[in-house]
């Protein structure tokens, strides 16, 4: 499974985490699962980047965490997007999409021309 996935671009982990938390309050594992599902398992975040990213985002004030009880009755740390984080998400999403569109335009047109796909 891990072997099939596309390596993540730098900076996109933060964006994905915030997007994951945009509509729900969940723990680290939940964020990970959401990313897998939302990207059709194309993108995978490993724990080594996920947790440091979560902590850093909290440190910046874009997330807050609190301890709660998970769906299987375990003590778990739940993350929530702050209003500040939401603004940040909006800004970064816009920026990333512009960037992605530009990249897509450039690469897809060229690649299409060469490979004929």
């Amino acid at each position: 499974m891990a072997g099939d996935s596309v390596p993540l671009l730098k900076g996109s982990v933060d964006l994905l985490i915030m997007q994951a938390l945009a509509a729900r309050v969940t723990h680290g594992y939940g964020v990970m699962r959401w990313i897998e599902e939302a990207t059709g398992a194309e993108l995978q975040v490993d724990e080594g980047s996920l947790y440091p990213a979560l902590y850093r985002l909290e440190d910046r004030g874009w997330l807050v965490s609190e301890w709660g009880v998970s769906e299987n009755n375990r003590r778990a740390r739940f993350y929530r997007l702050t209003p500040k984080g939401r603004t940040q998400l909006k800004a970064e999403t816009g920026e990333f999409l512009r960037f992605a569109r530009a990249m897509f335009l450039a690469l897809e047109v060229q690649a299409g021309g060469v490979s004929g796909r």
Partner: protein, 898 residues
């Protein structure tokens, strides 16, 4: 390995929880993964192992997370602390404004303590601590000389040969210089008026030993000294006041005592010479001192009768004790080779900082400073205990507020920190007031003119950053001292007892008794000080009216010193006659006479031992005065006659004695016609008159024996003209000055003053009494202020403590008046005890200071009564305020609140 800082250790303790959280979070993650895998059909143990494998390097992730958390934690703790502090400060300021009475009382008490400590600190700093502005001042020592005859320490007595012997000891000293002080008249240019100033005659190595560099030009060198160059380095003050701070002065020729000197440099502003009280106008080579001061001419080469003091830089490895014993040996060798230095010749050595303000007071400053420091410390302690009482009194009235805050979740530490912040704010406020007060006090002190020989001295006392730093430390200490106790007790009792017992929180019975005792001591001490102040004030008043034995109004004096200019006896006498003639032409002068003394200012020039009838020998002070001196000064001649113009060198030697001398030497007989000898080999002098006793040296002295000689029979180069005027003497100061200046520019009149002014401002006149009166009055006011605040604090505290009890009594029918009376009685009891003890103390102390005072002590009873009643009233007033508050207590509320 590096030791953890305290902060790191503290953080490790805090972060234990954080670590556990990180571990829990990661464990949860693995568990969820294992669950999921199990859901896909894997067996439990395999699922767990797979989950762990997929997780990757758990240790590394954990370390990363810990690092991020740690950074965040630090930042949060810090900002949290800052926020708390800001809140405390806001809260504190609001609290201080809400209770202006309390704030005023406490701050004024603390401010008085801080101000008195600051003043004492500034004195200690100036006379003990502040290093000379030279290189490594700690290495400097000063050396004087003593012998059996002069006994105690004397400065300025070493001859240059002895100085050279000392300087040769390079095993002890890196260098040894010598200084002597001379008075010289400075004239910037030929036709300028002359100004007298203190000059230091210094050996050529003086500036290199001290390591002082010039502001402009150069300093003196050993060559200047060896070749007796007539060169001068000006003091910075003299340069800026008389030479307009003009750098072109270097190379110019100026006149010192009519001799031409070339200015070679200007000393830096901070260096004012090595004599603390004397602001050196300039420095000249020791080799030319004889040119400036005729008296020193033939003394330079002598072992005895020299005039130098050594200031030396010790070798770093030599202690003062080493040097002292080495110089002991040297002194013995000198004494053996040159017996003229006197028996038991010694060369005492002191650290420069221990020999201030001058060598004769060496080793004397430390005990004096300790006494003053102790006094200041006592005032400070009293002030801080007063503040403690006030804070306690307030603390117990607000204990309920604290209890509520604690109940709402404020921790004890939080309450303590808030109470401490309040106290420190109070301390800062007091610091501002105290510093202002101290500035006023030091300003008042240094504005008192001190003068020697008509030249002003500098106090050398300043309130600079050093003193301010010390004051800040003192303030913080006093703030903590006054605040910690109340903060601890208030916070401790706040919740537990306040809510349960109501209104009885606070320190125990012992604390209360200690506070009462302190107030009693305060009352007693203020009474003693106030009585002293009263005695001094009364005495100073009386001194203004004391019969000095001559008529001091309509009398003007000034001095001229022919020794400074090149006069011999004959030309000097001629010049004096010309001056007298010029003054006599000024309208408003009636008669005048020369003398080598001025009563009280320079009361005597010599002391002689005189043989009377039988074994009666008497040491008496002497003066040389001109014809009709007693008539001009209006001193009654009781027997015989005063001096006349015929009592000159061509006629037989005569003297006039005062009544005290006549009665002691020839009791029951007439003194007229008796002969006296002033020294064993001298000619017999006939007593021709007896005059009434007057005040000679000190205005407060009791009659002392005194002897006058005719000025014509004893030459004195420095003399004072006493002018009896028909108009206000002060109005003639200007005319006299210009009349004398027109005679000879080199004979500038100095210290032109009316006799009343002399009596008022001389150190031996009423100045000391008035200074003493002012000083004691200030201390007295300070004591009263502290006492009133102290009494108020204690009573207010006890009222606050007894709110419930008072409420109960009022509920049971006590009237407001009963309550007020009982509280006033509490204060009155304390005050009365203090006053009783104080009266006893004051009686003892007034006997001790009696010798310093002028006039009868008939006013004593009045002073005692006034002070005791005044203090009693002040005590009642300071208990009335809390009493009134007690009377306003609403019984219902008091009982319910409990």
């Amino acid at each position: 390995m590096r030791e953890d800082t305290l902060w790191q250790r503290y953080w490790r303790y805090l972060s234990a929880g954080v670590r556990r959280d990180v571990d829990d979070e990661l464990a949860f993650h693995v568990e969820m993964r294992a669950n999921e895998l199990q859901g896909h059909g894997l067996p439990a143990d395999l699922a767990r192992r797979e989950a762990h494998r997929r997780f990757g390097d758990r240790t590394k992730i954990r370390a990363t997370l810990h690092r991020i958390e740690r950074k965040r934690g630090r930042r949060m703790t810090l900002s949290f602390l800052v926020q708390e502090l800001m809140q405390d400060v806001r809260y504190g300021i609001r609290g201080l404004f809400k209770r202006p009475g309390f704030t005023l009382m406490t701050a004024s008490s603390l401010a008085l303590g801080i101000a008195s400590t600051t003043v004492v600190l500034s004195l200690i700093d100036a006379y003990l601590l502040r290093p000379l502005p030279v290189k490594n001042p700690g290495e400097l020592v000063v050396i004087g000389a003593t012998n059996r005859a002069n006994g105690s320490m004397v400065a300025g007595v070493l001859g240059l040969p002895t100085v050279r012997d000392i300087a040769a000891r390079t095993d002890l000293f890196q260098g040894a210089a010598a200084t002597t002080m001379i008075t010289a008249a400075v004239r910037p240019a030929e036709n300028d008026p002359a100004d007298r100033g203190f000059f230091l005659g210094v050996t050529g190595n003086y500036f290199s030993v001290l390591g002082v560099s010039p502001s402009i030009g150069r300093m003196l060198t050993p060559d200047d000294d060896r070749q007796r160059e007539r060169v001068v380095v000006l003091g910075h003050r003299m340069w800026s006041s008389r030479f307009g701070g003009d750098p072109a002065v270097v190379g110019k020729t100026i006149r010192l005592n009519t001799v031409e000197f070339v200015v070679v440099g200007v000393a830096p502003p901070e260096f004012r010479g090595t004599e603390l009280l004397f602001d050196a106008a300039g420095f000249v080579p020791s080799g030319v001192v004889g040119i400036l001061d005729q008296g020193a001419k033939d003394r330079e080469a002598r072992r005895d009768g020299g005039r130098f003091t050594v200031i030396a830089r010790r070798q770093p490895n030599r202690t003062v004790a080493d040097i002292s014993s080495a110089l002991g040996v040297l002194a013995e060798q000198i004494e053996a080779a040159y017996p003229e230095v006197g028996e038991q010749f010694r060369l005492p050595v002191f650290l420069e900082s221990h020999a201030r303000p001058n060598l004769p007071s060496a080793g004397w400053m430390i005990p004096v400073a300790s006494v003053f420091a102790t006094l200041a410390l006592l005032v400070l302690l009293t002030a801080s205990v007063n503040a403690t009482n006030l804070i306690l009194a307030r603390g117990s009235t607000r204990a309920t507020e604290l209890a509520v805050r604690q109940a709402l979740g404020a921790s004890r530490g939080r309450l303590i920190s808030q109470l401490l912040t309040e106290t420190l704010l109070l301390a800062l406020l007091s610091l501002a007031c105290g510093w202002g007060l101290a500035r006023l006090a030091v300003g008042a002190l240094t504005s008192v003119p001190l003068a020697v020989d008509g030249l002003p001295l500098s106090w050398g006392v300043t309130l600079d950053l050093r003193v301010f730093g010390m004051t800040v430390v003192v303030t913080l200490l006093i703030g903590l001292l006054a605040g910690v106790g109340p903060a601890l007790s208030a916070s401790r009792f706040a919740l537990q007892q306040r809510l349960r017992e109501g209104g009885r929180a606070g320190l125990g019975r012992r604390g209360r008794r200690a506070r009462s005792a302190l107030v009693i001591v305060q009352v007693a001490a203020s009474l003693v000080v106030l009585v002293c102040a009263g005695l001094f004030v009364a005495s100073a008043k009386q001194a203004g009216k004391v019969d000095v034995g001559f008529r001091s109004d309509h009398l003007l004096t000034f001095g001229v010193d022919a020794g400074l200019a090149h006069y011999d006896q004959q030309t000097a006498r001629a010049a004096f006659d010309r001056i007298e003639g010029a003054v006599a032409r000024i309208p408003g002068t009636r008669s005048m006479v020369w003398a080598n003394t001025v009563p009280i200012k320079k009361g005597a020039v010599g002391m002689s031992e005189v043989q009377g009838d039988g074994d009666a020998r008497l040491g008496l002070f002497t003066a040389a005065v001109g014809p009709r001196y007693f008539e001009v000064l209006e001193m009654p001649v009781l027997e015989g006659r005063g001096f006349d113009v015929t009592d000159d060198s061509a006629h037989a030697g005569v003297v006039v004695v005062n009544r005290r001398a006549a009665e002691t030497l020839w009791p029951g007989k007439s003194a007229i016609g008796k002969n006296v000898r002033l020294d064993r080999s001298g000619p017999p002098l006939e007593v021709i008159g007896v005059v009434k006793d007057s005040r000679y040296l000190v205005i407060a002295e009791s009659p002392r024996p005194y002897l006058y000689r005719p000025l014509a029979q004893q030459y004195a180069p420095a003399v004072f003209l006493h002018i009896r005027t028909t108009v206000d003497a002060a109005g003639l100061i200007g005319p006299v000055r210009s009349a004398v200046a027109s005679i000879d520019k080199d004979l500038a009149p100095f210290d032109v003053r009316t006799m009343d002014d002399v009596l008022d401002t001389s150190p031996n006149g009423t100045l000391v009494l008035r200074l003493g009166a002012a000083f004691v009055s200030v201390i007295g006011l300070l004591a009263v202020a502290l006492t009133v605040v102290g009494l108020y604090g204690v009573i207010a505290y006890s009222v606050a403590q007894r709110t419930r009890e008072i409420g109960l009594r009022m509920a049971l029918g006590a009237t407001r008046w009963t309550v007020v009376r009982s509280i006033l009685a509490d204060g009155g009891k304390l005050a009365l005890t203090g006053i009783t003890i104080g009266v006893i103390g004051a009686v003892l102390v007034s006997r001790m200071v009696g010798g310093l005072l002028v006039g009868s002590r008939s006013a004593d009873a009045g002073i005692f009564t006034v002070v005791a009643i005044g203090l009693g009233l002040a005590a009642l007033l300071s208990s009335y305020l809390p009493a009134r508050r007690a009377a306003r207590i609403d019984p219902l509320k008091a009982l319910n609140d409990g």
